[in-house]
């Protein structure tokens, strides 16, 4: 099944989801680690994660380590399906041209 997804197709959001898709089941990535890996500012990453969380493609968990807040991220099953579907849609577009 393929479906072009306007939410995912934005460049930074696509990179965010691809990076999170590299995590194995049960793995979670720290917010700062993801920002550094992708070369995004905290504000930029935060804004995109908000959109992805609203679409239920990403799970954002906030905890405290001592007094320091920590945000960890993982892709949801819905997000994996949406990403796979979007990638298939891109391949289908390429095949049809």
């Amino acid at each position: 099944m393929s479906e072009f997804n306007e939410i995912i197709h934005q460049s930074a959001r696509l990179r965010i989801l691809c990076a999170l898709s590299a995590l194995d089941d049960g793995e979670r990535m720290d917010f700062r680690t993801l920002a550094e890996m992708l070369g995004l500012t905290d504000g930029n990453l935060g804004a995109h994660l908000t959109k992805l969380e609203e679409a239920r493609y990403v799970q954002v968990k906030k905890t405290f380590v001592g007094r320091k807040p920590r945000t960890s991220l993982a892709m949801t099953a819905r997000g994996r399906v949406a990403l796979a579907s979007h990638i298939q849609a891109l391949r289908d577009m390429l095949d049809s041209i």
């Binding site: 990076a19 194995d24 979670r28 391949r91 577009m93 041209i97």
Partner: protein, 188 residues
Amino acid sequence: MKTSPDDIKKTLVDLDRIVADTRRAIVALHTADHLILWGLIWMIGFGVGQFTGGSIPWVWLPLAAVGMVGSGWIGWRKARAVSSPLLLRILCFFLVLIGYAMVWAVLLHPFNHHNFSVYIASVFLFAYVVGGLWLGRIFVGMGLLITALAVFGVLFVPDWRDGLMAVLGGGALIGTGVYIRRAWTVRE
């Protein structure tokens, strides 16, 4: 939405690259600092051995203790960057490694300068080859390189064996750690 075929091709290539780069970056996150730490320990342990006529257990035991505490601290810190169920497997790996080191320590006792150097190299070989089965060929390569250096030293330059291990073996570990820390990132 208007997207050219070239744009789509480039996007698909970029997506595959980002997934592969992220996996490597996670491996680098969990391994680079350990390599640098143990490279320094290697340099100190074998460096002292070169100047004292051979590797000495009373130098290596505290160094190994420092290394294990250091690796534990590094592992704890990095787990906050990417938490993973793999960490339990890594803990089991360290327990197996300690068991391996203890079995051979008992079998080779009493140590002399000659067999202690070889013993140290064999423990590192075990660690990097077994670890490399999970983490990548570069670590298997490291284990084999260290073994080759140890064999070369024992056979051809026995008087400089420990110095060779300190400089080349320790240097290789540190160099690999620095390299993967810098190079295994998500490329733009």
